[in-house]
């Protein structure tokens, strides 16, 4: 896009030099129109949101047909001030410490890992997401280092010792028992804030 803009800017400059002042506006009008069109297209693309309807057939069919849980009374807990936040991450990437039992394909249970654990492996059943990112940097799916830096800078209170992983392919309704057990563990550790990150 910027290449086209540069091209038109140079081209318009040439036209100005060979055109009398009275004719400039008329001469420029088609290029100004094209400039506006290009800018409009650029912003349209920039702010366009990827929708299910735009996804390719197989994925679109699966994602559209998913039975989504609904909650008659959505819960709401008033947050504590930022400097009092003790944050625990919940990931649905099915990661676990090396040597832990792998997740089954529709696992209802969870795995726990410590904030200093970095030797994690993934046993998620699905392959539709990019795995090359987390191979390069764990923080792109589980940002423990970033949260630690934010705690040191006072942006949050502290990072919990324990963090949790679930199998994202499973129906969340089947995970309720495990999620509530995790919530108990979190509260025992003084956690008041949960950061949920899918894969």
């Amino acid at each position: 896009m910027w290449g086209w803009l540069c091209f038109w800017a140079v081209f318009i400059g040439f036209r100005i030099t060979e055109t009398s002042n009275q004719q400039i506006l008329l001469a420029l009008s088609p290029y100004i129109f094209q400039l506006y069109t290009s800018l409009f297209g650029y912003f349209l693309e920039k702010f366009k949101v990827t929708r299910i309807s735009e996804m390719p057939a197989v994925g679109r069919g699966f994602i559209s047909d998913l039975q989504l849980p609904t909650f008659e009374y959505p819960a709401w807990t008033k947050p504590v001030p930022a400097n009092q936040r003790r944050v625990s991450i919940v990931s649905t990437a099915a990661v676990s410490r090396r040597g832990d039992k792998p997740f089954s394909w529709l696992a209802k249970d969870h795995r726990t890992f410590h904030k200093n654990d970095r030797d994690l492996v993934m046993t998620h059943v699905a392959v539709e997401f990019d795995r090359s990112a987390w191979q390069q940097d764990l923080n792109v799916i589980i940002p423990l280092d970033r949260l630690e830096e934010m705690a040191q800078d006072g942006e949050i209170g502290s990072v919990a010792d324990e963090h949790y992983s679930f199998m994202g392919a499973a129906d969340p309704v089947t995970m309720e028992k495990s999620a509530r057990a995790v919530a108990d563990q979190m509260k025992q550790e003084g956690v008041n804030t949960v950061f949920l990150i899918p894969i």
Partner: protein, 253 residues
């Protein structure tokens, strides 16, 4: 993920989640949600970019300042996806049949040679990063291709790992094999491009051909689980393809 948020919130814990499918976030209405127009698998956006990652976290945590909810906001920056697909997809026409497989021993030998050639760079990558994600299967590198080849020969071998049946183990070996290649390449060549990595591994390497051979066998297998793996795109990346794998309906989902 949105459902989990509800359970934690109802336990008196304040939650915020990030998500990739806006329509699901709109429907389930978690207390606080930040929609990310990123490829799946990149919740914090960009690997090895701490500032971008913190930008995502801060945008999510800003939602704690909203007095009432549920609240759903869009992260202002996007990481473009290709043709609406959230990850790499094999070209629909790239499908092997059983008659394309050829001599399995030769193919395994070619994969072993390819892996041997990558080993120094794999070790350098692991040393540089201080970690590797390879090893979920707990098989040795040298055993990846031979284990997979037994399935290509039409056998379901005995699982060498206690407590984990052969077919679930096969899936982990397949993912370990791919991770071995992509971890190596992303580090060696300084590449962070999921499309390029997918194309290279699945379309250009001998290991990719080994796995496409496995897919060809699976699709004609009498074993329902093997068939389900290909029906559900749980091995070869066809989830984002325009149409199901020929011979399947993609109805396994």
């Amino acid at each position: 993920m949105c459902g989990l948020a509800h359970y934690f919130e109802s336990e008196g814990l304040s939650t915020v989640l990030v998500g990739f499918v806006r329509e699901h976030m709109e429907a389930i209405k978690p207390a606080r949600g930040l929609f990310l127009d990123f490829p799946m698998g990149r919740g914090m956006g960009k690997p090895n970019d701490p500032e971008f990652q913190k930008k995502v976290i801060r945008a999510a945590f800003d939602l704690f300042d909203v007095e009432t909810g549920p609240v759903l906001e869009d992260f202002p920056e996007t990481i473009p996806v290709r043709d609406g697909r959230m990850g790499y997809a094999l070209p629909p026409e790239l499908v092997l049949s059983t008659s394309d497989i050829g001599d399995v021993d030769s193919l395994v030998a070619e994969v072993q040679a390819e892996m041997d050639a990558l080993l120094p760079d794999f070790e350098a990558a692991a040393a540089s990063r201080g970690r590797t994600t390879v090893g979920a299967s707990e098989l040795a590198l040298k055993d990846f291709a031979p284990f997979i080849s037994e399935f290509i020969r039409g056998e379901i071998p005995k699982s060498p790992r206690k407590g984990l049946p052969a077919i679930p183990l096969l899936k982990l070996v397949v993912e370990d094999l791919e991770a071995y290649y992509t971890e190596t390449r992303t580090h060696r060549d300084g590449i962070d491009d999921l499309e390029l990595m997918g194309k290279w591994f699945w379309e250009e390497t001998k290991a990719g051909r080994l796995l496409l051979s496995l897919e060809a066998i699976s699709i004609v297998s009498d074993n329902k689980v093997m068939l389900q793996i290909v029906e559900m795109s749980l091995m070869a990346p066809r989830f984002w393809s325009e149409g199901p794998l020929p011979g399947t309906s993609a109805a396994g989902w």
